[in-house]
Symmetry: C2
Amino acid sequence: MKRNSRLSLALHTLSHMAGDPNRVRTSADIADHAGTNPVVVRRVLGKLREAGLLTSEKGHAGGWRLAKSAESITLADVYLALNEQLVSGVTEDAGPSHCSVETGLQKRIAEVLEEIEESLVQRLRETSITDVHPKSCSYCDN
Amino acid sequence: MKRNSRLSLALHTLSHMAGDPNRVRTSADIADHAGTNPVVVRRVLGKLREAGLLTSEKGHAGGWRLAKSAESITLADVYLALNEQLVSGVTEDAGPSHCSVETGLQKRIAEVLEEIEESLVQRLRETSITDVHPKSCSYCDN
DNA sequence: GAAGAATGCAACTGCTAATGTTACGTATGG
DNA sequence: CCATACGTAACATTAGCAGTTGCATTCTTC
C-alpha cells in the first residue's frame, strides 16, 4: 500500500458493508480483502467506531458492522472521522515568526484554507457511501 | 517545516508579491522570509513559472516576479501548478487485484474522488491570491 | 471454568516521500 | 572578469505511515 490509504481503506470497507449490512466481518477478513494487516484495519475502523459509524464486538462471534443505515453515512462523516484535513492541514507548521506581518499573513492563509476545507466537507456531505458502489454488484457479499 | 509546505510556501510568496508587484525578489530573500532554503524555493516557484504565473531572471539583478496581474491568479492556478491532487491522490496505490469485484469497486471510488477533486478546484477558482492578504498591510514591501 | 476467537492497545520496525543541504554549472550585468 | 542569481543533480535528514509482534481483555462455546 501507499500514501494515505486510510480513507481508501475506510471507503472500501464501508462500501462492502453497505452491500451486505447484516454480515459481521472480522478485521482479519477485511484485511485479506484489502490486502493489508488486521491491526491496520482496527486502527482505521476504530476511528469510524468513535464517530458512531460502526460497531465492533469482541469475543468468539465478534467483528464489525454498520452502526446505522448505509444511506445515512456520507463521505463527510468518514472524512471527519479520520481527521483527514487534506486542505487546511498544509499550514500546520507555524512556529513563532519574528515579524508581525508574517504572522498576520500566515493567519490569513490559514483562514482561507479553512474556508476551502469547509466547502470540501460540504461537498462530501452530498455523497453517501451507497454511491460509492458499482450499480450492479451481484457479488457484494464476497 | 512540516508536511505539505509547498502550497503554503507558494501562497505565502505570491501574497507578498501581490502586495508589491514591481519588486524583484531573490530566492534567498524569499527563503529567509519563509524560514526555508533557497533551493526549496526554486523548486516550488519553478513549478509556478512552468504554469506561467511567475517569471525568473538569472544574473546580477535577477530574481522572481509575477508574470501577470495578481487579481488574475487564483488558488486553482497555484494548486494545479503544484500538481497537488490532495483528494484524488489517496487512491494512488492500486496494484492488480485478484478479484474483479475489487477492481470495480476501486475504480468507482477513484471516480467519486475525482469528482470531489474537481469540485475542490472549482471552489479554488473563486479565490484570487489578492484575497489571501491582510486587508491593511502597510508593510507588504518587507 | 477452560479453551478458543475476536478486539484493544502499545511498542517497535521498516519504508517512503518530502524537505533540507551541498555542490556545481550556466547565464547575466556591472 | 567577477559577483550574483537561477537551474539542477546528488545526497542527507526527517516525519509520517503501514506493517508487525506481543499481550491483555472480553466474549462464546464446550
